[in-house]
Amino acid sequence: MPAVTPVGTVPALTPVGTVTLVPTVTPVPAMTPVGTIDPGARSDPGARSDPGAPGARDDPGDPGAALAAALEELARSPPGRGARLALVEAALAAMPALGAERSLAAYKALLRLLPRGAWVPRGAVQRLLFPFPRQHECGLRLLECMERHGVMPDAEMRFLLLGVFGPRSRPLRKLQRMQFWLPRLRHLDPHPLPPRLPPGLAAARLGLQRMATEPGATVTLVQRPVPDSGDDEGSVQPYILSSQSPEQRELLARHGPDRPVFVEGPFPLWLRGTLLKYFVLRGDPLPPHLRDPPLDPERSFYFPLRLELDLERGPWDDEDFHVDEVEEGPVLALCVAGAGDRRTLGRWLAALQRHNPALGRTPVLFRLTPGGDPAADPPQGPRDPRLGAGTPGAAALEPPEDGGEPPKSSGE
C-alpha cells in the first residue's frame, strides 16, 4: 500500500524542511523523497473521472491521499512558522509532479500545516493595510493552484481558511469567488477531455473523435506507431489514425473520377497543451448546376416536392445567410498522423481505398503547407514537469495564439 510508504519517509523529510528557511531556495532536494512516495500514481492518468465531483473527493485510489497522509504526519510536530510557509509553497509547486494537484484532501492537509489564528488581522485598520502579505499570498497561491486544476473548495476548506487567515481576508474573498464561479464554469466545455491527457496515439484518437462528431464515424488505426509507447513513440514509424463516416463514404463514392480530391494540411489542433496535426481529404465545392440534381417530378406519391411557381423568396425573409456558412467543398475523410510526409499520407489513402474503391480512380492532389511538416517537429504532450520545475506560467497552460510551437515548461 502506498499509504504506508509516506509515513516511513516523513522523518527524512522533516529535518530538511525545517532547514530550508529561505522560501526562494529550490525545493528540489527537500521534496525528492516525497516524489518517490507513490511512483504508480501517474501511470493511469485517465482513471479519475472528474476530480471536482462531490463523490470523488475521498477516493481511496487518490494519489493525493498519500501526500495528505504525509502532511498530516508533519502537522503533528510543533510548527515553525517560516518553515511551514516554505514547505507549503514547495509542496504547491510539486503537486502536479506528485499527481496530487486534483486532490482536495492534499490541499486541506497543506492548509492544516499553517498555524491557526496567528495570521488573522486584528481590527479593521489592520485588515485594510494588507496584513501578513507573504502569508496571505501563500494562501492565495494555494487557492489559485486549486482553481487552475478545477478543484472545488468545500465547507471544510472554508473553515480551515477562516482559522488561518480570518474572515474577510483576501484568501477568503478568493474562496468566495471560486465557490461562485467554479461550479458555473465546470461544464462549459462541450467537448470535455479527461483530466489528464494521455500521450501520443491516445491523444490523437481523442482529437479525431472531437472533430468527427457524426455518430456513425469510425476511427481506424491505419498504422501502429513504432515504438508504440514512451517518449519516443512513433519515432521509427509514425501512427496514422483515420476517421470516416458512412455519409462521407457516400459523398466520396458520388464524387466521380473526373474531378480531383485534395489532401490538405497539416492543420493544428490543440488539446490543452498538446499539439496535433491533422489532414483533410476534401473535394471542391460543386458547381451550382451539379449540386442539386433536378428533382424527379414522379418522386413523391403523396405531396409535391416542388412548386411550379415563378416566385423567389422575399429578401426580407431570407434568413439563410450566415457569415459562418462559407461555401466549402465536402470533407471526405480526416486523419491525424504522427508525420506529414507524403509516404505516410499515401499509406492513409491506400487504407481509405479499401472502403472507398472510387478513390482508386480519382486523382488525388496534395496541398500540404510547407514548413508545417510535423515530422520535423513531432507533436508532444506536455513533458512531465520535473520536480523543481517551478509552477508553470499561466501562459504556458494555454496554446499560444499563433499556433506555432508547442508550449514548453519554463524550467526546460
Binding site: Q179, D296, S300, L311
Partner: protein, 614 residues
C-alpha cells in the same frame, strides 16, 4: 337474407347503371378547397348541402339494415382481435352481403354504390377495425387501379370475381426502403425477349391482405424509352395473379391494432406477368398510384363518425348509471365536456365526409383530392381524441381488456398513419393550395416586388382597410345569403376567417415564394387553418339544411355547429397570427434549434434534476 339481396341486386341491375346516376358531361370544376387559399368561398359548391334522391335513400337503407344486423350479431370483434384472424364464416358473410364489391359497377357484379352510399356503409363496417381495413385494402386501394385505369378486358376478367369476394385484392406499393418515396422502389419488371411478358422481381412489405389476396396491384420499375430516346426507369402498375407463380408471402405481422387484418410481406420471384396486365400504360404507374391513393381517403370520415356514434352510446349508458359521491358521472362538468367533444367531432367529420362524397358524386370530373385529404386528417385525429376520451370516461375499466375501449384505441391509432400519414397529407393539402393560389397571384406579387406603384398602393390600401377593421361579406348571410339566420354568427366567423386566410396566403407567397416547400412548420399551420375552414363550412352547410327542412333535433345540430365554429375561429386566428410573424417570433426558430441540438446528440441532453456542480 342472401336471397333478398340477390333479388335486390337483380332489381337494381334492371335499373339504370350507376354511370347514369349523374350526367358526366360537364367541364372539370374548380374545386372548393383550393379556392379557399385565394380568400374566396365558392358557396355554390357547398350550399346547399348535397342530398341524395329518395330512391337512393331507400336503396341504401335497404342495405344498411342487413349489414348492421350482421355486424351486431355475427361479428365477434373481441375474438377477431385475440386470434388475429377474421374467421372464414365471417368473411363469407361479408361476401354474401356483397361488401367486397361495393363500388364495382353492377355490370361486373358489384353493388355499384356511389361515393355517398359507400360512405354510409362505411359507417357500419368501421365497427370492427380489422374488417374495415380488410375491406378497404381490397376495394379502396387493392382493386381501385383496375376500376379507374383498367381496360375493358381487364375489368371484365377480374372485377366479377373480385366483386363476389372469390378473389381478394391487395395493393403492393410499399417496400422496405420506401414509404412515400418513389425513388426507392426496387421491385423490377423486365420485358421478356418475346415481348409478351414482364418478369417481376422484388419484395413488398406491410401489404394488407397480402396473405389472403389472389390479385395484386403491384408497382415496379420498368425501363421506358423517353421521347428523346433515352432509356429511363419508370414505375408501372401491374395486375398480378397469385397463380402466375413465384408469389410468396411472409408470416402475418404482429400489430398493435387492427390485429385481425392480414398484413405481411409479399415476394415476387420471376413472376411472369403478361403485358396485357399492365394498368394504364407502361411507365404510367406513378399517376395510377397517385389517383388510387387520392381517391380512397374520404370514406374515413364517415367510418370514424360511425365508430364515435357507437362509442357515445356505450359511454353515455355508463355515465348515466355510475355514481360517485352520490352523483351520477353525467352530472360532472368534466364528463359532460367529453360528451360534447365527441358529439361535435362526430358531427363535423360526418358533415365533411358526406359533403365531400356528395361533391365527388356530382357530374363532371371534380378533383376532390384535397378535400378528401382534409377529411382524412380531421377524422383520424378526431377519432383518436374521441376514443381516448371515451376510454377516460370509463377510467380504469376502460384500460381493461374486458371492455372494448382499449381495442378501439389500438385500432384507431393506425388511422393517423396509413393512407398517407397525417404529416404528409398536411403537406399535400397546404402545397396543393399554395400551388393553386401561387399561379393566380404570381403576377400581382411580382408587380409589387418590382415596385409597381399602382398595384403596391392598392395592396397597401387593402391592408390598411384590413387593419382598420373590415366588414367581410362573402355572401353567406344577409338578404341573398345561403345560411340560415340561426347560424349567422358562425357564418360570419367563417367568412372572416376565409378572407384573412386569403390575405395570409398572399403574404406567405410573397415572403417565401417557391421555397415555401421547405417551410414545413408554416405549411402545417396553413393546412390546419384550411382544414378548420372546410370543417366549418361543412358543419354550417349541413346544419343550415337540417334547420331549413326541419330535420329532427336540428337545434342540437345548430348548437354543435356553433360550438365548433367558435372554437375553430379562435384556433384559426391564433394560427394566422403566428403565420404573420417571422420565424424568430413565432417560435419556429426555437423549435428547430431545440430539435437540432437533440438530434445532434441523438439523446435528451438536459442534466438530471438531481445533478450538482458543487
Amino acid at each position: 337474407m342472401t336471397a333478398a339481396l340477390l333479388l335486390l341486386r337483380a332489381l337494381r341491375a334492371a335499373r339504370a347503371s350507376p354511370a347514369a346516376r349523374g350526367l358526366r358531361t360537364a367541364a372539370p370544376r374548380r374545386a372548393f378547397a383550393k379556392e379557399l387559399f385565394l380568400g374566396t368561398l365558392r358557396k355554390e359548391e357547398v350550399f346547399p348541402y348535397p342530398e341524395i334522391s329518395n330512391e337512393e335513400l331507400a336503396e341504401i337503407n335497404q342495405f344498411v339494415g342487413p349489414v348492421e344486423k350482421f355486424f351486431n350479431e355475427e361479428v365477434d370483434s373481441k375474438k377477431i382481435d385475440q386470434d388475429a384472424k377474421i374467421p372464414p364464416e365471417t368473411l363469407q358473410g361479408l361476401k354474401d352481403l356483397g361488401l367486397f364489391g361495393m363500388q364495382i359497377p353492377e355490370e361486373y357484379g358489384g353493388l355499384g354504390l356511389s361515393n355517398t352510399m359507400y360512405a354510409r356503409l362505411g359507417e357500419i363496417i368501421s365497427l370492427d377495425g380489422s374488417i374495415a381495413v380488410t375491406l378497404a385494402a381490397h376495394q379502396a386501394i387493392g382493386l381501385k387501379g383496375i376500376l379507374i385505369a383498367g381496360t375493358e378486358e381487364q375489368k371484365a376478367k377480374y372485377l366479377p370475381r373480385l366483386a363476389s369476394g372469390e378473389h381478394i385484392a391487395a395493393f403492393c406499393l410499399t417496400e422496405p426502403g420506401s414509404g412515400s418515396d418513389a425513388a426507392s422502389i426496387q421491385t423490377r419488371a423486365t420485358l421478356s425477349e418475346d415481348g409478351k411478358h414482364f418478369l417481376l422481381n422484388g419484395s413488398k412489405v406491410w401489404i394488407s391482405n397480402g396473405g389472403l389476396a389472389s390479385i395484386f396491384t403491384v408497382f415496379a420499375r420498368t425501363e421506358v424509352v423517353d421521347k428523346d430516346g433515352q432509356v429511363k426507369d419508370k414505375i408501372t402498375a401491374f395486375i398480378v395473379e397469385r397463380d402466375f407463380g413465384g408469389v410468396t408471402h411472409g408470416k402475418p405481422e404482429d400489430k398493435l391494432g387492427i390485429r385481425g387484418s392480414n398484413t405481411c410481406e409479399v415476394h415476387f420471384e420471376n413472376t411472369k406477368v403478361p403485358v396485357e396486365n399492365v394498368i394504364g400504360e407502361v411507365g404510367g404507374g406513378f399517376k395510377v398510384a397517385m389517383n388510387i391513393l387520392n381517391s380512397g381517403r374520404f370514406s374515413m370520415g364517415s367510418a370514424s363518425a360511425g365508430m364515435i356514434k357507437k362509442l357515445i352510446e356505450l359511454t353515455s349508458e355508463y355515465a348515466c348509471t355510475r355514481k360517485q359521491f352520490n352523483k351520477k358521472l353525467s352530472q360532472f362538468g368534466l364528463i359532460q365536456e367529453k360528451f360534447c367533444l365527441m358529439a361535435v367531432k362526430a358531427y363535423v367529420m360526418e358533415s365533411m365526409a358526406y359533403l365531400t362524397a356528395g361533391m365527388m358524386d356530382r357530374p363532371g370530373f371534380p378533383d376532390c383530392s384535397v378535400e378528401a385529404a382534409m377529411v382524412k386528417v380531421f377524422s383520424s385525429e378526431g377519432a383518436w381524441a374521441c376514443v381516448s376520451e371515451a376510454l377516460q370516461i370509463f377510467g380504469g375499466l376502460g384500460y381493461m381488456k374486458d371492455y372494448p375501449y382499449e381495442r378501439y384505441l389500438r385500432d384507431t391509432r393506425i388511422l393517423l398513419i396509413f393512407e398517407g400519414t397525417n404529416e404528409i397529407l398536411r403537406m399535400y393539402i397546404a402545397l396543393t393550395g399554395m400551388q393553386h393560389a401561387g399561379k393566380i397571384l404570381t403576377d400581382k406579387i411580382k408587380a409589387i416586388k418590382k415596385g409597381n406603384m399602382g398595384v403596391a398602393l392598392g395592396e397597401f390600401l387593402t391592408r390598411l382597410q384590413d387593419t382598420l377593421g373590415r366588414k367581410v361579406d362573402l355572401g353567406l348571410v344577409g338578404d341573398r345569403g345561403v345560411v340560415h339566420p340561426s347560424l349567422q354568427e358562425s357564418a360570419k366567423k367563417l367568412e372572416e376567417n376565409v378572407y384573412y386566410f386569403g390575405t395570409t396566403v398572399r403574404g406567405l407567397l410573397s415572403r417565401f415564394g417557391k421555397t415555401i416547400v421547405e417551410e414545413q412548420l408554416v405549411l402545417k399551420r396553413v393546412a390546419d387553418v384550411v382544414i378548420n375552414l372546410y370543417a366549418m363550412t361543412a358543419a354550417i352547410s349541413r346544419a343550415s339544411r337540417s334547420i331549413s327542412i326541419g330535420l329532427r333535433n336540428h337545434d342540437h345540430e345548430v348548437l354543435l355547429t356553433n360550438i365548433f365554429c367558435t372554437e375553430a375561429y379562435f384556433k384559426n386566428n391564433y394560427a394566422m397570427a403566428q403565420l404573420e410573424k417571422y420565424a424568430d417570433e413565432n417560435l419556429d426558430d426555437s423549435i428547430k434549434k431545440a430539435a437540432k441540438q437533440i438530434l445532434e446528440k441523438r439523446a435528451y441532453i438536459c442534466s438530471h434534476p438531481l445533478d450538482r456542480t458543487f
